[in-house]
């Protein structure tokens, strides 16, 4: 069995920077990512994608290649196309990290520390018809653009709220790709709520970038603001989008509908590893509780980047560095011979987080969009509707685990990534409790589906616990 100082999960800006700093500090490191190459979400394809080596997707994107090169130069062992399915803390304080590596293979890697840098995912925007082929997320379309240089053809509608929606519109605009309509669903009170945070925003890098963004997107696209409801229409695939604003309801033809509702941390891995998570009311998401270097209440488990709370690529990179210094300090008693570098990263982190609060408030989704009407499917895997969930709550299921047992919401292959937050929002609406008091449904390993053969192969590597006998053929007596 391999035994290392550090396993890093995720090769986005956070994981890559953590790997570079940890390797510089002399640690033995392995980095695992289920993608094909370094980059993560923002820098997807920056090594070999359709726009690698160009500035066509903006200078932020181009920075990815530099970081990827630094990572390649660090000599850190990398496992791409491999998924971490479980992190367990052993009695001696080290970690067993189970990694699905191939079709029917998995390995257990032992390490003294783990940095989870699993990034963000888009917040689900459950609308009527969102399961129809042709309805995708804005992030999915952006990934197709970055990785494959492919864009929508025929009438395309963007709907929702959040910077990424406008970023995508701007990236399309710059490439000459026409978007028919952008339906902005942000709530009317958002500006008022964002205003107190405007000072921070004006001194941030977003201010300049943000305005440029909007300008470009606006020029190329029909933008309808204050949209109160959106639904996707079609039989076996999307044919049209209906939206409502005040008393007006319109249906427009569409081949592609791209939804976006902001991004939220991916917490399945860290939650299942036992780290404490807490509700962030401003960001409407659960986030792990961390100290200044990203360490959780599970000693030796660090979290860096968007999986710890949305901060964007620059913050992610800074957090990756800080987590690496935290691990160095834990294992070596010092974070290297010069803590000036650590202080620099800390300053960069503070600067890059400026303006976030303004954006969070400005792009906050509407309450009515977080809690869709009864007929809308919430759990895409098990096809459970909002009405099913409300009914369960009215019958006494006061939290997501009991709702799950009643309705099967969250039991499919996505393991509640698509329905978890909506389920909590609906329970909150029904009970009047805060999502923080309700909690998320319990997340468990394996955090992604793997074959029975892969699970079986986890034993070959690891015979440490002879006392626990695997299942007998007998059922309960």
């Amino acid at each position: 069995m391999t035994r290392l100082d550090l396993v890093i999960v995720g090769a986005g800006p956070a994981g890559l920077r953590a790997a570079v700093e940890a390797a510089t500090g002399g640690l033995s490191v392995m980095l695992v990512d289920e993608g094909r190459e370094p980059g993560g979400q923002i820098y997807r394809g920056s090594e070999s994608g359709a726009f690698a080596g160009t500035a066509k997707l903006g200078s932020d994107y181009a920075a990815g290649a530099v970081l990827a090169a630094a990572f390649r130069a660090s000599g850190v062992e990398a496992l791409f196309g491999a998924t971490v399915i479980q992190i367990e803390r052993e009695a001696d304080g080290s970690f067993s990290v189970s990694v699905a590596t191939g079709h029917d293979k998995a390995v257990v890697v032992r390490a003294r520390a783990v940095i989870a840098a699993t990034g963000a995912q888009e917040r689900p925007f459950p609308i009527d018809g969102w399961t129809l082929p042709g309805v995708m997320t804005a992030g999915a379309a952006q990934t197709m653009l970055k990785a494959d240089g492919v864009v929508p053809d025929g009438p395309v509608v963007l709907a929702g709220t959040g910077p990424l929606l406008y970023l995508l519109a701007a990236q399309y605009g710059a490439l000459g790709v026409a978007i028919d309509t952008l339906l902005d669903t942000a709530g009317p009170g958002n500006w008022r709520r964002a205003l107190p945070h405007v000072a921070g925003f004006l001194t941030s890098r977003y201010a300049f970038k943000g305005l440029g963004l909007l300008g470009k997107a606006l020029a190329a696209t029909r933008i309808i603001r204050g949209v109160e409801a959106v639904s996707a229409i079609g039989d076996t695939r999307l044919s049209a989008v209906t939206y409502r604003k005040g008393a007006t309801e319109r249906t427009i033809p569409a081949h592609v509908l791209l939804l976006h509702h902001g991004v939220v941390p991916q917490i399945n891995l860290t939650w299942s590893a036992g780290a404490q998570h807490r509700w962030n009311a401003a960001r409407l998401a659960f986030e792990p509780v961390r100290d200044a270097s990203g360490q959780t209440d599970v000693p030796g488990l660090f979290i860096a980047g968007d999986s710890g709370g949305i901060g964007g690529a620059q913050a992610a990179e800074a957090e990756g560095a800080l987590a690496a210094f935290g691990v160095l300090r834990m294992l070596r008693g010092t974070a290297g011979d010069d803590d000036r570098i650590e202080r620099q990263w800390r300053r960069r982190l503070a600067v890059s987080l400026r303006g976030r609060a303004f954006l969070d408030a400005l792009y906050a989704p509407r309450q009515s969009h977080l809690c869709p009407p009864d007929e809308v499917i919430v759990c895409r895997c098990e096809e459970v509707t909002a009405g099913d969930i409300r009914k369960a709550v009215r019958r006494g299921a006061m939290g997501p685990n009991q709702v799950k047992a009643f309705t099967r919401a969250g039991m499919g292959p996505c393991q509640s990534r698509m329905c978890g937050l909506t389920t909590v929002a609906i329970i909150a609406e029904e009970t009047g409790l805060s999502p923080g008091d309700i909690g998320h449904m319990r997340l468990r390993a394996p955090v992604k589906p793997v074959t029975v053969a892969q699970i079986a192969s986890l034993s070959e590597a690891d015979e440490r616990r002879p006392t626990e006998s695997p299942s007998a053929t007998r059922p309960c007596k």
Binding site: V135, M136, T137, A140, A141, M144, R380, P413
Partner: protein, 101 residues
Amino acid sequence: MFRRLVEPAGHVTVTIDGRPFSVAAGETLSTALLLAGFAGLRRSARLGRERGPFCGMGVCFDCLVTIDGAANRQACLVRVRDGMAVQTGTRLPALADTVPE
């Protein structure tokens, strides 16, 4: 529904539901399927409704197809390979079909 903005460096051939298609070498399988005109890739387990790629990043599990005999694989996380055989339209995979010899 989608089009290519950048001409690919090369092509490979994959079989989709028994028919050969020429696709960009190294392309994401879900992208290749969408470009080939396959919007729905599978049917949902409970209600049998058409589903296609949604999140594009491996978290929604709606892009599931059978790849070289292995059922329910995420097309958005796989790149095409020459000779790859893809089956769409599955609702409940039959296990016997998925056992490699």
